[in-house]
Amino acid sequence: MLAVDSVDVFYGEFRALEQVTIRVERQQTVIVVGPNGAGKSTLLRGICGLLKAREGTVHFRDQRIDTLPAHTVAELGIALVPEGGRVFPYLSVEDNLKIGSYIKRARKHAQESFNTIYELFPILAQRRRQMAGSLSGGERQMLAIARSLMSKPDLILLDEPSLGLAPLVVDLVFEFIKKMKEEGYAILLVEQNANKALQVADYAYLLESGKLVFEGNREQFDRNPYIKTAYLGL
Amino acid sequence: MTATKLTLSGLVLAGILLLPLFFSSQYVIHMVTLMLLWSFVATAWALMARFGIVSLGHGVFLGMGAYIPALLFNFYGLSPWIGMLIGIVAAAVLAVILGYPCFRFKVIGDYFALVTLAVAEVGSLVIVALRDQTGGSLGLTINNSTRPFLDFQFSDKRVYYYLATAFLLLGLYIWRRIDKSKVRLALTAIGESELAASSLGVNVINYKLLVTVISAMLTSMGGVLYAQYVTYINPETVSGVGVSLSVCFKAILGGMFDILGPFVGTSIMVLLEEYIRISLGSKYVGLSEVIFGLALLLLIIFLPKGIVGSITALIQKGYQVERGSK
């Protein structure tokens, strides 16, 4: 479904991603782990069009998307959940969700989506009229994820969902991600917290300093000695 | 300063100094006087603007220089030479009154520019409001003096010409002095990061105030010279938003980061203004301003470094290419 091929992304003269190649198949959950500054967020931003690749291509369902502007990529069914529980601070929870359904294919189903979301996230239903900026970190993260679901995406890009959240909340978030997986969404998740991320992964990549140094399924990751010590704390 | 630039400037200076000896045309002398005078004002403005302290309200200093000595002379017979000193001091005081709170409370960049814009407008409105003394929007004519030299009035226009040249040279000299002193280092550092500079012990506020006060004083000097030369002033021509922006534009056109930029920019604008005035005349009042406004818009969009700046950049690129290909 998603094919990232030999992509190079630069910030000015600094090469943030080098020859990165990633695949995500339908209904698959793929994770990219790596330390801070490895380029994980850059990868997601490059896929959804907020950054442009200098080399390489990105294809979504056989359509080339790396040349498209970000809003067009969103229309095609790729939703980005940015890091840090980034929501529109001065819009209400409800408005944040509503804007999630801005794209044409989602607008017709907006009411339905609202109902589903409010069922899944009762806290959001309670706080629907509250300013999103006044929510706690965990609530904002939930809102960000819920918002992405409002757009009825085919592929969800999750940027470090555990960042800055208390462990209990992180567990909640990953419970949720498991549910999304069960619903059949294709997910590309980038995370520093390799332990948590591997629990939901069908396939994983390890990114260090902009380069992919390892890839494999869960077992392969679990067994690799370097990864075990460096990332899994074992 | 490169050798070519220095030679060229030397030639231009020689030309300026010798011009009245070869051209007796009052008209030519008048035009060059205006070029020199406004170049001086533009240079004074760029003196602080190049460090990121951009004022869109220098008209207020210009106006103070124009009106204060003129009023003191008309009402009290006080020699405009002394009036000039008073005007300069007044401008300096205003610069401090405005600058200190702004710099202290970190009102910088475009917020600072907006404040100066407002101040210029206030200056203009005050002049109009005090119409009983200043003549309001109808303007003020400076009385004829019985003691010409002492009262900053000269029947021979060439005296103004050389005064304007002297003022411009003064402005350029001060620019150079600043460049060679630690003031420039301090201000460049401040321009890049105020926080970093102040943590290194640089007294940010004082340096900014220093260059602002110098700029204000020089600008007011230009106002005095203009008033005494033209002998008629009104709020439109020497104060307010219009003339403030005009001064900015002249400096930016030529390139406000280069010492000769304001001179080049002003000369071009003065000549163009005159050309348009002659060819289109008063048939279409306002057309020259429209053309300027549009030209400026285009300039800002396409050539943000100004003419001198862009040419310098091109030349430097040329050097690099040459060296690279060797």
């Binding site: 001065y90 804007i99 794209i103 | 917020y111 907006l114 404040v115 429209v290």
Partner: protein
């Protein structure tokens, strides 16, 4: 004197409504595009001149002339976005300020060239309403009611429609808005068109109240600025409240002293607010 001040107070409130529209437009543009439209008052002036030309010169009936004026200013807003703002989006702030400031000079002088320096107006004999000791001009009242209606519509638009929501989203976080599928160009053009249309609407309300001349724009640009800064730049609610504060303050000052002093007062307030509390007195976001 008391009656005069009471009337000044009432007129201040009535005009405050129209000033609120002006502040809204400026805040909307600034909030979305992050550039200050320095020539906003001059656009109002232009709108006025256009309405005048459509009606007095071309004989179009006044209501149609007003509608045409609003439409023309909306189109001008679109051109402003296309030709001026779009190339400047990535430029340093100073350049943006200067470019829009030169727009002031262009618009004022174009007006001078086309319509001359004389005062132009459309004479309308509108009734004066008397309430007790106080006389209220119906033109002021209509302007006030009209402004409130327009503001109400704008409120509904921004809060209940997808496009309005998109505009607010872009104002708060452009990147994230793009991620939601919002095309920034669409939002920019709509915002500038709306901002332009608002100047036309304000001009229409001003037609029965003022006569226009090429420097008419400056007082309104200044006032719009002061209001916007007082309420917090980009803050729609703040602008709304400040409009009435400034409307009343300048109105009363103009009656007690003179209009020049009122303008000077407005500017002094502006400078003081910038120095002491640049986020505006209200500092609250709407």
């Amino acid at each position: 004197m008391v009656e005069q001040i009471t009337m000044a107070f009432i007129n201040g409130i009535l005009l405050g409504g129209v000033l609120a529209l002006l502040a809204f437009g400026l805040n909307l543009i600034f909030g979305v595009v992050k550039i200050i439209h320095m020539a906003y008052g001059q656009f109002v002036m232009l709108g006025f001149y256009l309405i005048y030309s459509f009606h007095a010169t071309m004989g179009v009936p006044l209501p149609a002339a007003m509608a045409l004026g609003v439409l023309s200013m909306a189109i001008l807003g679109i051109f402003t976005q296309l030709l001026l703002i779009r190339p400047l989006l990535k430029a340093p702030r100073l350049n943006q300020l200067l470019a829009l400031a030169s727009l002031i000079i262009v618009v004022e002088n174009v007006a001078m060239m086309i319509w001359g320096a004389d005062y132009r107006g459309i004479p309308l004999a509108l009734p004066i309403i008397q309430v007790g000791e106080v006389f209220i001009r119906s033109s002021y009242l209509m302007a006030f009611v009209g402004a409130i209606v327009v503001l109400g519509l704008l409120y509904v638009f921004l809060n209940r429609t997808y496009l309005g929501l998109a505009i607010r989203a872009v104002a708060q976080d452009l990147e994230m808005a793009q991620g939601m599928g919002i095309n920034p160009a669409t939002v920019y053009y709509v915002t500038l068109a709306a901002g332009g249309a608002l100047t036309g609407i304000v001009a229409a309300f001003f037609v029965p109240i003022y006569t226009v001349h090429p420097h008419f724009g400056s007082s309104f640009t200044i006032m719009a600025f002061v209001i916007v800064v007082l309420g917090g730049m980009g803050n729609l609610l703040g602008g709304f409240i400040s409009a009435f504060i400034i409307g009343v303050a300048t109105s009363i000052t103009a009656v007690v002293y003179s209009t020049e002093v009122a303008d000077i007062l407005a500017l002094v307030v502006f400078v003081l607010v910038m120095l002491i509390r640049p986020q505006g007195l209200l500092g609250v976001r709407a």
